[in-house]
Symmetry: C2
Subunit: 202 residues, 2 copies
């Protein structure tokens, strides 16, 4: 009963890494077993099937990585401060785990059946509260009237897309991983500035 959680966790962790690195379809159960250092059949013993294991991992990744961000969006900060915090936290999160974006991109197209679960992800690009805030401040004249749906898409595009094409950026600009991370840090200021500028009259 002690080794239980241990083995189950080892499978879960190994599979998570492999799924994100190589993609679900190019990862075999044998790969997982070998990486986790366990017997082939144990994957089925604990998770019944590969697809099941995938579901568990997917759900977990969503939960783990959206919590803080949603909280920021729904907080009662002012718009400028909120955007600053959000961009900052989102980019930090992705820097810690740069494979999240390509992984989710792949899943969106691989498993469209699971699209409902993914609404959680899509909330990342704008909750009701945040949306309302933009409309309200537009009416109040603090910012110019802005269509929230375009604003959301702008925001997550600017934040996440570089991670989606990370290998390309690194290769093209002959960057090291560190160079890339610096580039991304630069973008924090850059994106925030861009978004705020675009909301102000001028």
């Amino acid at each position: 009963m002690a080794k239980n959680k241990n083995t189950e966790q080892k499978i879960f962790d190994a599979a998570t890494e492999l799924f994100m690195e190589k993609g679900v379809d190019r990862t075999s159960v044998r790969d997982i077993a070998s990486k986790a250092g366990i017997n082939l059949a144990l994957m089925n013993y604990y998770f019944r099937s590969k697809e099941n294991l995938f579901d568990a991992i997917f759900t977990n990744l969503v939960k783990e990585n959206t919590k803080d961000l949603l909280q920021i969006l729904d907080s009662d900060l002012g718009l400028e401060e909120k955007i600053r915090k959000y961009v900052d936290a989102y980019i930090d999160m992705l820097t810690t785990n740069p494979l999240l974006v390509p992984f989710f991109m792949a899943i969106i197209h691989r498993s469209q059946e699971k699209i409902t679960q993914m609404k959680v992800i899509s909330n990342l690009y704008g909750t009701e509260i945040f949306s309302q805030q933009i409309v309200d401040e537009g009416k109040a004249g603090t910012i110019r009237r802005t269509d929230p749906s375009h604003f959301f898409v702008d925001m997550i595009s600017l934040i996440t897309f570089p991670f989606a094409i990370r290998p390309l950026i690194i290769d093209r600009n002959e960057m090291s991983e560190e160079d890339f991370n610096n580039f991304i840090v630069e973008r924090k200021e850059h994106i925030t500035g861009l978004l705020l500028k675009c909301m102000k009259e001028c």
Copy 2:
């Protein structure tokens, strides 16, 4: 010799569609054969292997879809006009074939060995000439000094990312395909405005 090209082309076309719809790994040679209405072995006769066929298709897709865009970037239009044309042409191209973005995203992470071939794609986000133009106009004071590498990333992020998460946007906003296309058309003006605004002092 007449039917040659015919069969080869049928395989090529069927595979292209399937690869883009379901992804390379979830498309079997049997799927391709059946869609193309040909015998299973013919794929190997013409292309030697599935991976080979994939290479051919990939190269072709890159060539077909980058030509016009690169031409715009390297033309001698003024910056504003150039950006306007580029955004317009790029979005039109992707609207015609909305699966291109997810396909390329998948490939970038699936086949990192082929990353060199992909430099062609990465040129999409900025040629030497275009880059120089931004620096020059910055020095001249026509626009404010702008780091081309960030500007490129901004530009392609804003243009392509919505296509990368198309199913999510459609589902979340309860859109029809047509709604989505309208949304994208709106973005043409929106993105151009945003990019130009961000280049001007204010």
